[in-house]
């Protein structure tokens, strides 16, 4: 008889409501070990509140949760030993150097793997000898990433890990997340950047107004992903309606707008025929994507 593997995270109706009634309401969610879970939602949807509740910064006002099989309230210290956390706007002690900050955190965690610290610092290319306040935004983020990783945690909780970072640091962060995944670690990351989550996540969940409205695999998301297309034509464009994947077609003079869920090369090939003089293809807002394929289910939370 095999040993049952505990979920990395199991939320049973977990919520934290602020006095103004906002917050997170009764979230049910399971994240398997070794999975990268993308946690999506617009600003103020409740992503950070849920993460802060999981880490014990906020007390649950309803429900319960386990992290790596440990209760987030009763076994908080044990949970924190096995979790690496990266805040969306990480702040370490300004007057201390990066090394002094990390050395302090390692001592508290009882971690002595300074070789790993050196190795990770080398990979990220960060100078730990400088005071934290003198570091650029990107380098501060790198030190915070090291802090989340250096004790080799079983679960990484990343709150908008690449927000405001330059593409190089974003890429470094992504490669680290994928590296941890390949080592069997679990990653739970929040973001409002769909592309970022798509690049690394196995499954995604979307939260809106404090409620988890949808959870699905990234493949399903990709399959149904759409674009907003707008173009201006010189000739008759009526044939566009017959192109597979064209939805919600609207015309305003010579300008045409529609939602497109098909292949981009096929669209471009068709557009050439109609003498397009101007064209824009944009990603829709994240919520539109989700609402488009979860429809009414998303509205009611049954997705």
């Amino acid at each position: 008889m095999g040993v049952q593997r505990v979920n990395a995270m199991e939320l049973k109706g977990l919520g934290h409501l602020y006095r103004n009634g906002r917050g997170v309401k009764r979230v049910n969610l399971q994240v398997e070990q070794g999975e990268v879970f993308g946690f999506l939602g617009p600003n103020a949807a409740g992503k950070t509140t849920l993460i802060r509740t999981l880490l014990g910064f906020l007390s649950p006002t309803v429900g319960s949760a386990t992290v790596l099989g440990l209760d987030i309230v009763c076994d908080k210290q044990e949970v924190l030993k096995r979790v690496g956390y990266l805040a969306s706007d990480p702040a370490l002690y300004d007057t201390l150097t990066g090394y002094q900050n990390l050395d302090f955190a390692m001592r508290i965690r009882g971690c002595r793997d300074y070789d790993r610290l050196k190795d990770l610092a080398g990979k990220l290319g960060v100078d730990l000898g400088q005071r934290f306040r003198t570091l650029s935004r990107g380098n501060k983020q790198k030190v915070a990433i090291l802090n989340a990783l250096v004790h080799d945690p079983d679960l990484l909780i990343l709150d908008e890990p690449t927000t405001g970072l330059d593409p190089l640091v974003q890429e470094a962060a992504r490669s680290i997340i994928l590296g941890e995944k390949s080592r069997g670690k679990t990653v739970f990351m929040s973001s409002h950047d769909l592309a970022e989550v798509e690049a690394v996540a196995d499954r995604v969940g979307i939260i809106r107004d404090g409620e988890m409205v949808a959870v699905d695999r990234v493949e399903n998301l990709r399959r149904q992903r759409m674009k907003y297309v707008a173009f201006e034509v010189e000739h008759d464009w009526s044939g566009i309606a017959s192109l597979p994947g064209v939805l919600d077609l609207r015309q305003d003079g010579r300008k045409v707008r529609f939602t497109y869920t098909g292949k981009i090369p096929a669209l471009l090939e068709s557009l050439q025929k109609w003498g397009v003089v101007d064209l824009s293809i944009n990603d829709p807002p994240l919520e539109d994507v989700f609402l488009s394929f979860y429809g009414q289910d998303a509205e009611t939370g049954r997705g």
Partner: protein, 268 residues
């Protein structure tokens, strides 16, 4: 706990250097001007005779307290009253920084995401406040004493020490109360304003009540009532009862702050 203490002490090092350096300079500068006072007569002019009719505490503030040598009068009036305000202000700065600033700046997230008990975090910060206040007390006293010795002035060194130390105990008590108050402050800026305003108001109330010759019992709610610039100089020793009361207030405020902090919601 030692790791938490060392880390926070290190983080507060710059502030400590500024406060210890400034107050040390104050002590040294005062000592440098003390020599002429040895030969001055406190009752040597008409104005002084008029001021003799004032309440003792106001005369202490003006440096003409009865039964004091001119040098002791100078030091209690200038340094004693300065330290009675400066050390509570420093205590408040440290206490509010330990709670509200950490939450505002986000370092609380870094700290509380570590496997550490919140109680240990707060106790370590309280200890850093106590040690920093002690360092400023010692630095100021050492600079004052050194300055007096270098000037060849025979001073009441034990009395000066206990006078400054008593201000340190007041600083600890008010800092501890500020730490408790900061638990409910919505942000760092307001926590700082409120605590500094409280220092000013409490100091003024106690001074006014003393001038009105109100009883010690009536003033006992106020931590400043446990500070006296004259008594440690007259005794050349500590005011143990008052020091014990201030330490008890500090520990009680710490205990209450620990209870509140344990369940405090750390919002983003």
């Amino acid at each position: 706990m030692i790791t938490l203490f060392k880390q926070y002490f290190r983080a507060q090092r710059s502030g400590l250097l500024i406060w210890a350096g400034f107050n040390g300079f104050m002590g040294w500068a005062l000592a440098a001007t003390a020599k002429p006072m040895e030969t001055a007569s406190a009752l040597g002019n008409f104005m002084t005779r008029i001021m003799e009719r004032l309440p003792e505490n106001l005369r202490a503030l003006l440096g003409i307290a009865p039964g004091m040598s001119p040098i002791d009068n100078l030091i209690q009036a200038k340094l004693g009253f300065w330290m009675a305000v400066a050390l509570p202000v420093y205590g408040c700065l440290l206490a509010v920084a330990a709670v509200s600033r950490e939450i505002d700046r986000g370092t609380a997230d870094f700290l509380l995401a570590l496997p550490v008990d919140r109680k240990q975090v707060l106790v370590a910060r309280w200890e850093v406040m106590a040690v920093n206040l002690a360092v400023v007390v010692l630095t100021t006293w050492a600079a004052l004493s050194g300055g007096l010795v270098m000037s060849g002035v025979a001073g009441n060194f034990r009395g000066y020490f206990w006078m400054i130390a008593q201000a340190g105990f007041v600083g600890l008590a008010i800092g501890s109360l500020a730490m408790l108050g900061a638990m409910w402050a919505p942000d760092y800026e307001r926590a700082m304003k409120w605590s500094l305003a409280a220092v000013g108001v409490l100091f003024s109330i106690d001074l006014s009540m003393k001038m009105a010759s109100m009883s010690r019992l009536a003033r006992s709610f106020n931590p400043f009532s446990y500070f006296d610039t004259l008594e440690p100089l007259r005794r050349s020793g500590p005011m143990w009862t008052d020091a014990a009361a201030l330490i008890a207030v500090s520990l009680a405020a710490l205990w209450a702050a620990l209870r509140v902090f344990q369940s405090k919601q750390i919002e983003a």
